[in-house]
Amino acid sequence: MANTIRKDRIAQLVSRLTDYDVYGPVEEDGVFLYRRVTGPPPPGFTNSRVPPKSIFFPQTETMMEFEKDGTGHRFVGAREPERAARKILLLGGRPCDVRAATFLDRLFTWDYIDPYYVDKRERATVISFTCTGPMPNEQCFCPSMDGSPSGTEGADMLWTDLGDSYYVEALTPKGEAILSAGGDAFGKAGKKDAGAAKEVKAAADERITRRFDREGVAAALECLFDDPYWDTVSEPCLGCGICTLLCPTCHCFDINDVVRKGEGRRERTWDTCQAAYYSLHASGHNPRPGKKHRQRNRLYHKFLYIDRNLGIVGCVGCGRCIANCPVNIDIIEVAEGTKTCAEARREGAGADAKGAA
């Protein structure tokens, strides 16, 4: 059933996808980013610095434009800007990032539909690429988060690099649509290709060395909220937003009105729970005044709160926050550390109880 596509036919495929705006990874000054593309992903692309969530949930997005009254000086209403109608194709998502989008789906449809996100998601077809070349790297730990370097969750197609060509699996009707639009750009896959793809996938699994033993973290967090542990782990923290802005599952945003040259708009931008202003009340009171409160909130949100509310864990194991943290804070170490800490506290409490008895 599966197909293949030769690498030199990808540009042709893209040219046939006239209904689609195609996004893919490109290298810019040494950094991989998702941009509009016309051809295949560069060989050996790694995880992008900014995850492809930006395609469905742009860092800055105009939510509405303001209407003026007759005087032309006062804003008296708001209208939604015209929505784009064209389809979107993500050509070259990594399985972890694509899986993260399914988490955002849950959040953005949680009781209320977020029209901006959902609209783009519905228009989008996602092609995941099995991790090959430099990926997975030493930061990756997706299997520990129930993912896989050849995972298909959230993907419409999975492409696996076989050297001169990709092994193409269409997973959904949206994926099938790409196959039919591509026509003879795709070829039929043989048994040999299937075997080769299987090997590539297995090799990717092999290369992942980092492990995160999640078992027991949530239970440990339950009893560590007011623990001095958070003072220790947050001590070197800078309070920058790198870990959250680059996280494929982080979804917090800010809504602000911007007026420039007499024109007004309301826009949303990514926000970070690591910033002091994030939770600051207008009165000046801040329920999370310190770095330790904010870092604690990040950990709890990822490993406890989002699980309770939406039944998912807020991490896919892409390793971005670890690789890019300026002060070398490692989410796995911090999360696993809670278990040791909770254990020590329990023992301490046990000893106290014994002493009292």
């Binding site: 209403g77 949680w110 209320y112 007004g264 600051l280 207008a282 909130n297 309770r308 039944g311």
Partner: protein
């Protein structure tokens, strides 16, 4: 009443506000949400335009409080804004931003919404410059509500301090409404502000005072000296209570106005916890002392209802910031029993 089993009134409005929502952060995205999706055809973030029809100054000073009455322009949108007592609304000052307010008016389908706002930030600052006829944006109503139907047959005690009375107002208006008054037992209203001038909704309270089916108690704060509150009447006509032991104050027959703090007035009034519910809102510190005073009188935390607030942007549980532990104030709240509040992590 335990988490998640709180009874809801039958759906009277339309839109997301009426869908059964998980309470206390233990719900999932399935089931209930499907119904919501079907109902939500509009862009939840897009405010509708409303006109300011009335502005009343409730309290002056550096942080004045005004009550604004908005009327939604498009009649077709009116029904969508039918709220339940306790829900909040997000007011847009186009070009400045949005701000969240408890709806203080009686639930109605006329597209009339009232909020009381203190001037603290950029948006509230702009609001206080509004004039009758100006346009604002409204979206909502959001959040859960007071389970007024489950309270039928009970005595009701309302306690408000300062501007915190505004979320309480939507509930006592509900209870005191001719259609509903018969559903509830005795009604006691306890309210205090810094000075007589700071007492909000003066006309309304005058009307309530005249009613014989409500027991209204008012107080103003003690006068302050360098060493704290000064014993004695802060204003003529506002006799001081027994400062050392409020509970032992001898109340002259028919006297309902005193000099004291709201929690002390609670001890003076001594509302009975027997088959009764308290609704109280105000600054966290006031809530803390009010609940302590109520505990002395034998009230349990599950009988006490309050509303919480936190910084919000989206109002619908997406933007992240208003969480207290796993509870989103905007989505699971803003109405909580004091028992629920006590169970929350210490992040206020």
């Amino acid at each position: 009443m335990s988490k998640g089993t709180r009874k809801r009134g039958k759906a009277e409005g339309v839109g997301p506000a009426e869908a059964p929502r998980p309470v206390g952060g233990r719900g999932g995205p399935d089931g209930a949400s499907a119904k919501v999706h079907a109902a939500q055809e509009h862009n939840v973030y897009l405010p509708v335009t409303a006109t300011v029809t009335k502005i009343e100054l409730e309290a002056g000073g550096a942080r004045p409080i005004r009550t604004f009455t908005f009327e939604i322009d498009a009649p077709a949108e009116h029904a969508r804004f039918l709220h339940r007592p306790g829900q909040f609304i997000i007011v847009s000052q186009f070009g400045t931003g949005e701000s969240v307010f408890a709806i203080s008016s009686f639930p109605n389908a006329d597209g009339v919404i009232q909020v009381s706002a203190m001037k603290v930030g950029n948006v509230t600052g702009k609001m206080h410059e509004l004039k009758v006829g100006d346009k604002v944006g409204l979206r909502g109503p959001y959040g859960n509500d007071f389970p007024v139907d489950a309270w039928k047959g009970k005595d009701m005690v309302f306690i408000g301090a300062g501007i915190g009375v505004s979320p309480v107002r939507s509930v006592y208006q509900w209870v005191l409404h001719p259609d509903h008054r018969k559903d509830y037992g005795n009604v006691t209203l306890i309210y205090g502000a810094r000075t007589p001038a700071d007492l909000a909704y003066k006309e309304e309270f005058a009307a309530i005072e005249a009613r014989d089916d409500v027991d209204l108690w008012l107080c103003i704060d003690w006068a302050f000296g360098p060493k704290g509150p000064i014993e004695g009447d802060a204003q003529p006509g506002w006799p001081a209570i027994n400062m050392k032991a409020p509970g032992e104050t001898v109340v002259p027959e028919g006297k309902r106005r005193f000099t004291c703090f709201v929690p002390q007035l609670v001890e003076v009034v001594k509302p009975s916890p027997e088959n009764a519910i308290v609704v109280t809102c105000g600054p966290p510190i006031a809530i803390k002392f009010i609940t302590q005073a109520l505990a002395k009188l034998g009230w349990t935390p599950s009988q006490i209802y309050t509303t919480l607030e936190n910084r919000m942007k989206c109002g619908i549980g997406k933007c992240g910031r208003c969480n207290i532990g796993d509870i989103y104030v905007c989505k699971h709240g803003p109405v909580f029993t004091y028992e629920e509040v006590k169970r929350m992590v210490n992040e206020f």
